[in-house]
Symmetry: C2
Subunit: 355 residues, 2 copies
């Protein structure tokens, strides 16, 4: 019997189709090597599609739902009003598919140049788990006296015990399979109500995971610790808005958007999880073969791990890390290989992977 999975593939705009194409070549190799199969449905959506049809997430959700996972390229085009795709697609998917945890590994791979002086791969090996559906992202805000000198903008951040609990529980379980350390990142001295609820949940769940050590860091102090002492972190769990900010700092540390990747995990089995590189659609370099497909291929590795194909996941990651270490530059003409050549090289390594 062969494991078979159903995959929704959403290449999107700009360099999205190029890098997702590479990831699919690598997937072919992984299937051949590790003996599982996928049925793939390509879904057309994104900025171009929105400009042509006005369609956003609502129109494709039925086509996406029911798959085992979504492989996502990237979305965006300067011609689309800022906010439309974010709120009409990305955030809508996180909500409607209850992708409660945004998981971003922050690993410095050997051979990848980091802008942080003296940082070494051994010191940078963590995962940031961001709550992905609540907080400031609930979209609750309004302005009274708009357009007048006494206008007041009110913006609300809402966190439910249930929403925090599911992501903190996930983070504890993740830590259990790693170095057994969980750090809460928040701003409890200012956001007192929310901060107390987060701290309460961490304290309560910590009783269930006594092997996991917990600690706490303010989000502003995180700006020091992430670049300067990343070795103190194993799993970091944080609020939606703080996670948005510190994961981008994490991406800087690990060498930039070219290698950073993320999983938007549905934790209750009601809808598919989504996997993507965190870079944008980069319309300025689309079609040039200058994009680095490593982020997309590493997101495929996360996807395979999520489906339970751990061996294939590890092989894809190892092959990508090897090729990343060989590239003279992370992107552009100086990368020394085109996007598809990088993909083909990684695919070849996966096809020949030892177990």
């Amino acid at each position: 019997m062969t494991n078979r999975y159903s995959l929704a593939v959403l290449p999107g705009d700009g360099i999205g189709p190029e890098v997702v194409g590479c990831a699919l070549d690598v997937l072919d190799a992984a299937e051949a090597r590790f003996g599982f199969g996928t049925d793939r449905t390509e879904i057309t959506a994104g900025a171009q599609h929105y400009l042509a049809t006005g369609e956003l997430f609502a129109e494709v959700q039925d086509a996406l739902r029911g798959h085992d996972a979504i492989l996502f390229g990237s979305m965006g085009d300067p011609a689309v009003t800022p906010g439309i795709l974010e709120r009409g697609f990305i955030l809508e998917m996180r909500q409607r598919f209850q992708q409660a945890a945004n998981v971003r590994p922050v690993r410095l791979y050997p051979g990848v140049p980091t802008p942080i002086a003296g940082l070494t791969p051994e010191r940078c090996e963590m995962v940031i788990v961001r709550e992905n559906t609540e907080g400031a992202y609930v979209g609750s805000g309004s302005t009274v006296h708009a357009g007048t000198p006494n206008a007041v903008a009110m913006q609300e951040s809402l966190n439910t015990r249930a929403g925090i609990e599911r992501v903190v529980d996930f983070a504890f379980r993740l830590a259990l399979g790693r170095r057994k350390k969980l750090t809460l990142c928040h701003k409890t001295n200012i956001l007192v109500a929310a901060g107390q609820l987060w701290q309460e949940v961490v304290a309560d769940l910590s009783a269930r995971y006594p092997e996991v050590e917990t600690d706490y860091v303010h989000v502003d102090a995180m700006c020091f610790h992430l670049p300067l002492t990343p070795e103190r972190f194993d799993v970091v769990v944080t609020d939606n808005l703080f996670g948005d900010i510190i994961t981008d700092l994490g991406a800087v540390i690990q060498g930039g958007l070219g290698v950073a990747t993320s999983a938007n995990l549905n934790l209750d089995g009601t809808a598919p999880s989504m996997f993507e590189a965190i870079h944008g659609s980069a319309p300025d370099i689309a079609g040039k073969g200058w994009a680095n497909p490593s982020g997309a291929i590493l997101s495929l590795a996360l996807l395979l791990g999520h489906l339970g194909e751990g061996e294939a996941a590890r092989a894809v990651e190892a092959a990508t890390v090897q090729v990343l270490g060989e590239l003279p530059a992370l992107a552009g003409a100086e990368m020394g290989m085109s996007t598809s050549e990088v993909g083909a090289r990684i695919a070849a390594l996966v096809r020949d992977a030892a177990t």
Copy 2:
């Protein structure tokens, strides 16, 4: 006629008194060299004082008010419950003295080691202006069903047109005297109501300052731009919470807390402004002579500039930068000189400064 100013000096806890002592030696030198005078009133407040008396800002505000400026050391002690001094003193002072703008220069001084590979002083010369009284810091939050599985924490961020206007106007005027570029940092695609009000104010005031070019960067993208392309910024204006986060990242880039400094400016003349190094009280190294007084001395330079003693301000800054460039390490035993030796050396340079 000699200019005379009245100064409240608040040394605080830990290394606060040591570094403020150095700043006052430098102030003596500046007065001798540049022919102005100060009357100084030392105010006792902080963690130790709170533990002994229970007194916070409310009890010293009358002693502070009426001075031309406040020179602040640092506050804090592990024995004080987190949040007490922050909310009972620091934030209380910002509110009651209407210190509407928190101004943090981010400058990489020559000779100061930065953790950002390849960054040079010419590329890093900006000022971050943080709104200092509103936003998430209004302290409006509550939890319904607290302690139950359906608890909901609600946290509100409030911005008024007037509150935004005064700080954006200040930032425009600052930019006018510099490279004439103002960047708004926010998260307008998510915090839509607040984001629109900030953007509206920047657009409206921009008509008054047509020479100043404006642009916009999301707070998450700031984590890329600040370390990697700081040269794109001259003056950055931002919300209270985002400012708290990105100014700490700014401090990292310029070489750390030892050299970072800030002004909490009252803009309407109703109360004194406050000047401080942004480092904490560092109780672990207090009394050892290992603290670097440069942050405190640079905050004195900001204070002198604010009082209108521009020549003295420039001399204090130049002397500090020179000594910073001579130190083998920024703090600790490896600094090669004690705290007071660093202060004395800077004071000597100020005393002999050319004009």
